[in-house]
Every structure is written in C-alpha cells, then in structure tokens.
C-alpha cells in the first residue's frame, strides 16, 4: 500500500523535499562543492542551507527531479559567488585560469614526447585500490589536496560533472561554455588529478 504512494514517476518536487535520502544526498553534494569553492566550512554550510531554503520557498515552479537539482545548484552558485566577491577572491579567478593554461602546456610536455606518445617514466601505472586504502583518511586528505590544487574553473567543472553528476548540456547552460571547451577542461582536470594521485598516493603505495 505505502509503496504506491512513492512509486509515481511524476513525483512533485514538493515531495522530493520530504524524501530524506534524496535531500541528504543533494545536501552532501552541494556541501562538498561549496567547501572546495569558498574554502570555509561554516560559510559553505550557510550558503547550502540558504540555497535549499530559497528553493523550498519557490517550489511551485519546479516539477522534475533533475530540474530541482540544477536549480538548487544554480541558487547555491550565486551565493558562493557573492561570498567570493565579498572576500575579493573572485576577481583573481581569471588570472588564475590564464596561468593554468600555461601550466597545461607544461604538463603535456612533461607527460608526452614530441611525437605525442607517453614518456617512458610517465606511463600510467596500475592503481591498486584496496578498500581500506581508498577509504582511509589519508587517501581522502590527498584527494582533497589534489582537488584544491586544480585551477578554480577546472575543479568547478569537474565537481559539477562528477559530484553533482550533471550532464554536459546542463553544465554548458549553467556556465555558458561550449561543449568542446567543457570537454577539454574536464580532460585537463582529470589529467592533473590522476597525475597528482599517482605521484602522491599510488606510487607511494607501490614503493613501500
């Protein structure tokens, strides 16, 4: 009997707000994203709560789960930009991003030969991921550090794709970038992340 109440495909968004599992997942996704953007847990927590509250107050406008997620996220993003602006960090973003594209060239030169093949020393190694290893606090600390080391735009796109699990079109609409620009940025973000993890975790593991 009770199952029938929840089975409907056209679940109104208002009900989603009472779906604890969905809301908890959404909150965690937003929180991870917010913390890495503003680098301050209290500010991030406030921004996420504000965003969810504004969404709830204007719920009538939305009726699809995917739409709800992108929409709450768009509200959150504006709040984060306000925070960064207040802290005068936002204005530096474009400078950081310009610097990053130079570093990309350097990274690609470092990883590949002139002919576009892997340098012998840089060939990707097998990653051994014992559950207790990947789940250990140490690993997550390294993962955090590697994420934080990414240029702001890279980590934003990467997190939208992999944490919030938004699809390409949703990200492009939100961020006003072209698909090919997004794909290239995601590639570079992943290239850097894997390099960072391989240098700081997986290689260390294999060597000991």
């Amino acid at each position: 009997m009770t199952q029938a109440l929840f089975r409907s495909d056209k679940q109104p968004s208002g009900q989603l707000f009472h779906n604890n599992e969905f809301m908890n997942d959404l909150r965690l996704q937003m929180l991870k994203f917010a913390i890495l953007q503003v680098r301050n847990e209290a500010l991030a927590e406030d921004a996420v709560q504000d965003a969810m509250l504004s969404a709830y107050q204007n719920i009538d406008r939305f009726n699809r789960q995917a739409a709800l997620k992108t929409w709450v996220f768009a509200i959150l993003k504006n709040k984060l930009i306000d925070i960064l602006r207040k802290e005068k960090r936002y204005t530096n973003a474009s400078i950081l991003e310009e610097g990053a594209s130079l570093n990309d060239e350097a990274l690609i030169d470092h990883l590949f030969t002139e002919n576009g093949h892997w340098q012998k020393d840089e060939r990707p190694q097998k990653w051994y991921e014992p559950d207790h290893g990947v789940e250990s606090k140490h690993f997550w600390r390294i993962f955090d550090t590697c994420l934080e080391a990414l240029p702001a735009k890279y980590s934003r796109f990467f997190m939208m794709r992999e944490f919030l699990e938004l699809d390409t079109n949703e990200i492009c609409d939100n961020e006003e970038v072209t698909v090919s620009n997004l794909n290239t940025t995601l590639f570079r973000a992943r290239l850097r992340l894997r390099e960072c993890l391989e240098d700081n975790w997986f290689q260390g593991e294999n060597n000991t």
Partner: protein, 67 residues
Amino acid sequence: MMKCTQATQLLSEKLDRPLSNKEKMNLGIHTAMCPACRQFGKQMLSLRDISQRYVKQSDREERGDNT
C-alpha cells in the same frame, strides 16, 4: 595511428559523451596496442568511482560511523 595525446583525450571524453563509430574504432586500435593508454582508461573510470565515494564519504563521518 592515433597518438597517445589524442587517445587520452578521447578516453576522458568517453565519460562525457558517446563517441562516434570512427572514434571508437581508432581508439580501440590504439588501446589494443598501447598498454599505457589502456591503463589510463582504467584510471579515468577509477577517478569517477573515487569521486562518487568521496561525495558519500562525509555521510559516514557525520554519523560517527567509522567502521
């Protein structure tokens, strides 16, 4: 033959869009012969898996369930 720089980019894009038949074929030929790019492809999948665990991970911590 496709270069590793191109193959790695496609191995990343594969996670974001469906590849064309031509891309699939060229990438398939490349990875069949290039163990490094094959490994890179596996790492791309691991990265996605790790990211999803990362998001869920604070869930456990917040509940104080460390096992």
